[in-house]
Amino acid sequence: MLSFLQYLISGLSLGSIYAIIALGYTMVYGIAKMLNFAHGDFIMIGSYVIFTVVTTLSGGSIPGLLVAIVCCTLIGVTTERIAYRPLRGAASPLAVLITAIGVSYFLENLALLVFGSDTKSFTPVVSWSGLVLADGKLRIQGVTIITIIVSIVILIALQTFVNKTREGQAMLAVAQDKGAATLMGINVNRTISITFAIGSALAAVAGALLCSAYPSLTPYTGAMPGIKAFVAAVLGGIGSIPGAMIGGLCLGIVEILSKTYISSQLSDAIVFGILIIVLLVRPTGILGKNIQEKV
């Protein structure tokens, strides 16, 4: 029973990381209506920035995280400006998706060139060793607790931002109808830029937490978590902020439990199987809204 609890907690921790990534995905998808395939690679870039600040410049974890947030925000906004914005309103819906894949490819190979293909061992951002409960039978790592707390704080902050501020309301308006939002005097380009900035900043935070929990860093570190976080966003209902949280947590728990009780090789297959089932049974996800296609 205690070991099950232990696995459940590590599932929650992984799920919280997925949730933070999925929040970035879901905001960008909801507002810009595009799948930012490179989102996972923003995580990887953020982690490399922290790694460089901590190891090469010996600057400490917190400054490293701050620098990473700034870098990722800049990269996210620049990517949107250079690669995605020109393609807004392109005739083929595939154009922007393929471009996003190109950006992902670009970032991975850039990291390969700059940092090399060898695995870097990441110094965890959280140094707290954690709690020991039930006479040492239940050990909760510090990074696990911090991850869960951070994800809840981010969720509340984002919900407040979207529902209470003018910028947040502008995002909701753009998500609903770009043309009408423009007529209401909303600067659509600015709003989408802000969305990318927030999403990319969250990617940096997720990178720090991901690499603290699993401290090996390669240029491909972000790709798989990025795709799984998209699965989480779809599971929760794309475009919905609480949905991303629920989807992320569900996915993390399923992944850890299937790794433990079924097969470690098949856990990815099970996670992707969930995506397929969700899309077939309830394409709008757990909390998504149903939108009818119009001619």
Binding site: P86, G102, L113, S263, Q265, L266, A269, L279
Partner: protein
């Protein structure tokens, strides 16, 4: 009308001509000893990447749906044909065995394409891309964990280890989990690969210029309009997707019969391979079958020719890919191009 027809068939002939000419040149170079053995070893891989690129282009350019799971279809084709070849290694003569391996690999890949197509083709755009990626990864992961053996009583399958197969004394392990399939006869060579490429090209090009192909492209251009003129959307989408998967399976058959140990790893069958093939397709021109073949061959051989550029190769591909997408598809770029050509035309008059 007749003139138009001959134009398309001329266009097709040019493609075959390029492939055959390239084949003759490369074979001549090889027999003249002007090719390192390393380079000669790249000829078959080059051809199956070209086949995979044609298959993916049929899906992306003609059907208009982005699949990121074609590596999965290659994987299915590779494994099914390798199992067949291993089982009949002693009992069937080489040529017939390889032909039947093709039939099986293609048929199994087509079956998977059909089965996966049923749920997947109800989706579109981003979702379709991600779900095909998911299916590809599932195929790869499952084949990585499966054990298959054969003895006098028939086949045994296990998901735990080779001991759990519970075989008789004479049993032989065919798929050894993550260790993959060992000892597949190396039946593939450059000539056969090029023949397969030509057959694939023949099928695709004739398909595109047929009634079916026009129906598929009509769905791509406007689904609702196509439906309203009576085109059966589901049927044609399934047809195109299944054919595309079958061709990827053919590439897989060549793959498995050109490698001594077939393993279901990300390096060979992960979604990164699907993305690499997509790079070939985009750089060759989405919808241009000839472009896919040329791009796949050049981009595959290029790093060997320009070793100094090898480090920057992927980075350059990525930049070119992004630039091409923006130049070809951005509304502003299209408008600019149209204005430029309009001016040009006026001057000509």
């Amino acid at each position: 009308m007749k003139k138009g027809l001959s134009k398309t068939s001329l266009n097709q002939l040019i493609t075959y001509g390029i492939v055959i000419a390239a084949y003759i040149i490369l074979q001549a170079l090889r027999s003249a000893g002007m090719m390192t053995s390393h380079l000669a070893g790249l000829l078959v891989p080059m051809t199956y990447y070209a086949i995979a690129a044609v298959a993916l282009n049929f899906c992306v350019g003609i059907l208009g749906e982005l699949s990121l799971g074609h590596a999965g279809f290659m994987c299915v084709g590779a494994f099914s044909s390798a199992i067949f070849s291993n089982v009949f290694k002693e009992t069937l003569p080489g040529g017939l065995r390889f032909f039947l391996a093709f039939v099986i690999g293609i048929a199994v890949a087509a079956l998977f394409g059909f089965l996966i197509g049923i749920p997947v083709l109800r989706l579109k755009g981003d979702y379709l891309a991600i779900v095909t990626l998911a299916f590809g990864e599932i195929i790869k992961n499952v084949l990585n964990a499966v054990y298959l053996g054969k003895d006098s009583k028939g086949f045994h399958v296990s998901m735990t280890n080779s001991m759990a197969l519970g075989m008789e004394e004479d049993g032989k392990v065919i798929i050894n989990g993550a260790m993959g399939i060992n000892g597949t006869p190396r039946d593939a060579n450059f000539t056969i690969a090029v023949i397969v490429l030509l057959i694939v090209l023949f099928i695709v090009q004739n398909m595109i210029n047929s009634r079916d192909g026009r129906a598929i492209m009509a769905i791509r251009d406007n689904r609702i309009a196509a439906e309203s003129v009576g085109i059966n959307i589901t049927r044609y989408k399934m047809l195109a997707f299944t054919i595309s998967a079958a061709m990827a399976g053919a590439a897989g058959v060549l793959f498995s019969h050109n490698i001594s140990t077939l393993q279901s790893t990300s390096q060979y069958f992960g979604y990164n391979v699907s993305i690499l093939i997509l790079v070939y397709v985009v750089l060759g021109g989405i919808g241009s079958i000839r472009g896919s073949v040329i791009a796949a061959c050049i981009l595959y051989l290029l790093p060997e020719m320009l070793r100094s550029l090898n480090k920057y190769r992927m980075l350059i591909y990525a930049i070119v890919l992004i630039a091409m997408m923006i130049i070809n598809w951005a509304p502003a770029a299209r408008e600019m191009r149209e204005r430029f050509f309009a001016k040009f035309r006026k001057e000509a008059v």
